[in-house]
């Protein structure tokens, strides 16, 4: 009987230990702002969040999930802020644009292609029509915000079958860098500091001049392959002080410096 009691006692002790660990860890968190959504906005938001923590001690938790998740989580109020890398018109959420992001068309550094037109890109992606040496294209998977924005701008409805659809920007860059005949697309910031790939110049129609993918050209509107980075809050709940303070930080000079350093274009605070 005693041994049986001992077993029970040990089991109880284990349970108590687990419980206390749970209780201990449960009260460890301080003030936390939760952000989730677009994985395109995530790297920028991560930098902003970390800088904000350094400055104020307020933890900002940044999760991915994609633009769709960002919108739905902001709608049901499970996060303080959603992130979306596209125009948002959904009900129940109010978007605030924090930056504009260029989408670069990329080829490997040794590729001969320098500039493309919208029609050429459309033909390559939809019908597998070569542009000079570039014979193949890679895309993101169909839940990617970058893909959605890209297809919107190029007016693509579907892509040719047999085209790799990759789940990450890194995979796109690796595939492009590995061959001199492949085109892909990615966020403009990925170009900086990467000498295995280069961005090609882009023009809407045959007449205009081709424009290089740079943040300056995105800012002055001549490079048209771009999309907004939005953060969203639940319209009904509104913004409380702690979240407002974080948004103020994003639009402060410090925030702007981070946005620029990350390769995006700063936009004006639409709340004012």
């Amino acid at each position: 009987m005693k041994k049986f009691a001992k077993v029970v006692a040990i089991a109880a002790a284990c349970a108590a230990l687990t419980g206390s660990v749970a209780a201990f860890t449960a009260c460890g968190g301080g003030e936390v702002i939760t952000v989730a959504g677009s994985t395109s906005v995530q790297p920028l938001m991560s930098e902003l969040a970390d800088a904000y923590y350094e400055k104020t001690g307020v933890t900002v938790k940044v999760d991915g999930g994609g633009s769709g998740v960002g919108i739905s989580k902001a709608q049901d109020g499970t996060v303080d802020l959603g992130m979306a890398s596209k125009e948002v018109t959904d009900e129940g959420v109010t978007p605030i644009q924090i930056a504009t992001d260029g989408i670069a068309l990329i080829v490997s550094a040794d590729c001969t292609l320098e500039e493309v037109t919208k029609q050429q890109v459309f033909d390559l992606y939809s019908a597998h029509t070569a542009i000079g040496d570039v014979t193949d294209a890679v895309s993101r998977d169909s839940s990617s915000g970058t893909r959605e924005a890209f297809m919107d701008i190029i007016d693509l409805e579907s892509i040719y079958s047999g085209q790799p659809e990759l789940s990450s920007q890194d995979a796109v860059i690796e595939n492009v860098a590995a061959s001199d005949n492949v085109m892909g697309y990615c966020s403009l910031e990925a170009l900086a500091g990467n000498n295995t790939i280069k961005g090609v110049k882009y023009k809407e129609s045959d007449e205009g001049t081709a424009v290089a993918p740079t943040t300056d050209n995105v800012a002055n509107g001549t490079y048209t392959l771009s999309r907004p980075f939005n953060i969203l809050y639940n319209t009904e709940k509104g913004l409380d002080e702690r979240v407002s303070a974080f948004i103020d930080f994003i639009f402060s000079e410090e925030g702007a410096a981070i946005i620029e350093a990350n390769g995006q274009v700063v936009t004006a605070d639409s709340r004012k």
Binding site: M1, K2, K3, F4, V7, A11, A15, A22, T25, A26, C27, G28, G29, V32, T39, S40, Q42, P43, S46, A49, D50, Y53, T59, V60, K61, V62, D63, G64, G66, S67, G68, V69, S72, T78, T135, D136, V138, D141, S142, S143, E148, M151, E157, S158, S161, G162, Q163, P164, E165, L166, S167, S168, Q169, D170, N175, A178, S179, N181, C186, S187
Partner: protein
């Protein structure tokens, strides 16, 4: 102890009747049955919740349009999965065909041809192959094999069925090999001797007598391999390339059922998410069919021969025949050489994976990368350590009592071969065969919603379902090895059943339980598909159990996907994973040796135990 005083003549009053029903013995029995039945509940819960979440998609899209449509383009609202179904089938058939040939020859090599000196190490190596996480295989395939295919074929993209088949056949090899090895070893020794006595050479005996005699076991092994191949997610997600087309070429970007779920689920919402869960449901149906087939095969799996007089083949039997080896120039001699070549290939494959991951990963391991403060933009692996430890502790705290209780019921209470037991076993095996991506989807639908989002608790409960079958099987195995005489001795001394189980039987089953714990830890450490949607994928240190957190494998997946400049950390995580897997394997090996040594002294131990029991009994009586 609460003894039941039987009054044979008096009819018990209602109160006494109730009191008699609620004895410790009866309560314990009910609890054990409930624990055993938990697996049934789990399987039904998975089926029910997956179906419930899929129905909206079936309705919206149309059941037949969904199953037989050939275009998948969520932006345009088309959700057809026929190409993915066919790709899954082609991929499974190819990798099982290759994987099982490799595995069967590997098993034959281990059992009949492996020199005694390296037998232990080689067996351990194949086990190690089983322990390497899918995400590591994915990296290896992506960074090593894909460029080779691109160079050799001249294609732009090396993605596709060929690349995935190569990796997948290595991945399912250990599963098939270890079960084949077991069934070969349990073929009665008389077969071997009889064949030799009739003048056959060793090679002829092995390939014409022993292998055919083990065919049921081999078939079961192959079916289990099919289940693993159909359900494998993370590796194929990285290697297939993601385009939805019919499998008309081996080197061409393509998607399978699992790869599509893994690729799009995390970032999906609305109808697309429901459609992805519906793909999961289709996959679940496939898995259930495969499990039923396995069950049918296992049912008539009895090895021929008289069970009383059957001896298993021994090391010495094989050694004695070695000098009898004659070159006869038959097909069997060629097969022997094939088994050597394949065994060598398997060793090379394993070594190259381990060496590759360590070579690129070890230089990235530093105190800062492992234990530094992890931030959103500059993550370190510190949160992965914490998350892994939390997950292991909670999952084991829940799964161990459940699993041991179920094993006790199956071995100590149930009548062997009864309908209930057969049903229980079917469901436990089914649970064991469910691929981790489906656990991930179920965990997301059920636990993550229950706890208000992906968090460590939701991840841990999902893991409970995954490790439960391992714990039940391993514990049951060691319980069944405890000699009945010990139970009888304990009962004869007046101990109740519960007391006998906890004091006499369970301590003897300790090796099995410890093995189960280590196997479970291995499974948890390497798991990615089931955790991404349930435990979350955050880079920050989890601050509570309701907070999200990533393990090493999830880190590897996440770091690859986020577009951060953090590839070095993924390599470090890979190296850490390999090191942990290596350590766990070494621990298992050491424990086996330790317990084997102990078993040698068991006779003395049993006498001591019974003596101890008797002394205690006397003491209790005195009090």
């Amino acid at each position: 102890m609460a003894e039941i005083t039987t009054k044979e003549n008096a009819k018990p009053s209602f109160r006494e009747y109730i009191a008699a029903a609620f004895t410790k013995e009866n309560i314990a029995k009910v609890v054990f049955i409930a624990f055993a039945a938990f697996s049934i509940l789990a399987v039904f819960a998975i089926i029910f919740f997956m179906l419930a979440e899929s129905v909206p998609a079936f309705r919206e899209i149309g059941f037949f349009k969904f199953l037989f449509g050939s275009e998948w383009n969520p932006d345009a609202g088309s959700y057809g999965i026929l190409p993915m179904i066919l790709t899954s089938i082609v991929l499974t058939v190819l990798s099982v065909a290759i994987g099982s040939v490799l595995a069967v020859f590997t098993a034959i090599f281990i059992v009949y041809y492996c020199p005694k000196k390296i037998k232990k190490i080689y067996t351990q190596m194949v086990n190690l192959l089983a322990g390497i996480p899918s995400i590591v295989y994915a990296y290896f395939g992506f960074e090593m094999i894909k460029p080779i295919i691109e160079d050799l074929s001249g294609r732009t993209f090396g993605y596709g069925i060929l690349l995935s088949t190569i990796i997948l056949s290595i991945m399912i090899l250990p599963t098939i090999a270890s079960i084949t090895k077991n069934s070969l070893e349990s073929v009665p020794a008389q077969y071997y001797e009889g064949s030799l006595a009739l003048g056959n050479t060793k090679n002829q005996t092995v390939f014409k007598v022993m292998v055919p005699a083990a065919k049921n076991g081999i078939l079961a092994a192959i079916i289990l391999g099919i289940g693993r191949a159909v359900g494998e997610t993370m590796a194929v997600q990285f290697l297939l390339g993601g385009s939805v087309t019919y499998p008309i070429d081996f080197i061409m970007p393509i998607s399978s059922l699992t790869s599509k779920i893994a690729q799009e689920f995390g970032e999906s919402s609305g109808l697309q998410r429901q459609a992805l869960i519906a793909i999961g449901f289709v996959l679940l149906i496939f898995i259930l069919i495969i499990n039923l087939a396995l069950w049918m095969v296992k049912r008539n799996n009895a090895v021929a021969g008289n069970s009383v007089f059957t001896r298993k083949i021994k090391e010495s039997d094989i050694e004695h025949t070695a000098p009898n080896y004659k070159r006869t120039g038959t097909l069997q001699d060629a097969l022997r050489i094939v088994s050597y070549v394949i065994a060598a290939l398997v060793a090379v494959a394993l070594l190259s994976i381990v060496v590759y991951v360590l070579v690129i990963g070890l230089p990235e391991i530093s105190a800062e990368n492992l234990f530094g403060r992890s931030t959103n933009s500059h993550p370190t692996l510190a949160p992965a350590f914490a998350t892994t430890v939390y997950l292991i502790l909670i999952a084991l705290a829940v799964a161990l009592p459940l699993g041991i209780g179920a094993a006790i019921y199956l071995n100590e209470y149930s009548k062997r071969g009864s309908k209930l037991v057969n049903t229980l076993r079917l469901f436990i095996d089914t649970l064991a065969g469910v691929p981790s991506i489906l656990f991930g989807l179920f965990g997301y639908i059920f636990f993550a919603k229950l706890f208000g989002g992906a968090c460590i608790l939701a991840g841990a409960f999902t893991l409970v379902l995954m490790i439960l079958p391992t714990i039940i099987r391993s514990t049951e195995q060691s319980l069944s090895e405890v000699p009945d005489s010990m139970r009888e001795a304990s009962l004869a001394l007046g101990a109740g059943k519960v007391r006998t189980i906890f004091m006499v039987v369970l301590p003897q089953a300790l090796p099995g339980i410890i093995t189960a714990i280590i196997l479970s830890i291995g499974r948890i450490v390497g798991e990615s598909a089931a955790l991404i949607y349930t435990a979350g994928s955050n880079f920050l240190m989890p601050t509570s159990l309701l907070d999200s957190g990533s393990t090493f494998a999830v880190f590897m997946f996440q770091l690859q996907s986020e577009g951060l400049d953090t590839k070095y950390l993924a390599h470090a995580a890979g190296a850490v994973l390999i090191i942990i897997v290596l350590l766990l394997n070494i621990i298992i090996m050491l424990l086996e040796n330790y317990f084997n040594d102990k078993a040698a002294n068991k006779k003395g131990a049993i006498a001591k135990l019974i003596d101890k029991l008797r002394r205690k009994e006397v003491k209790d009586a005195e009090n």
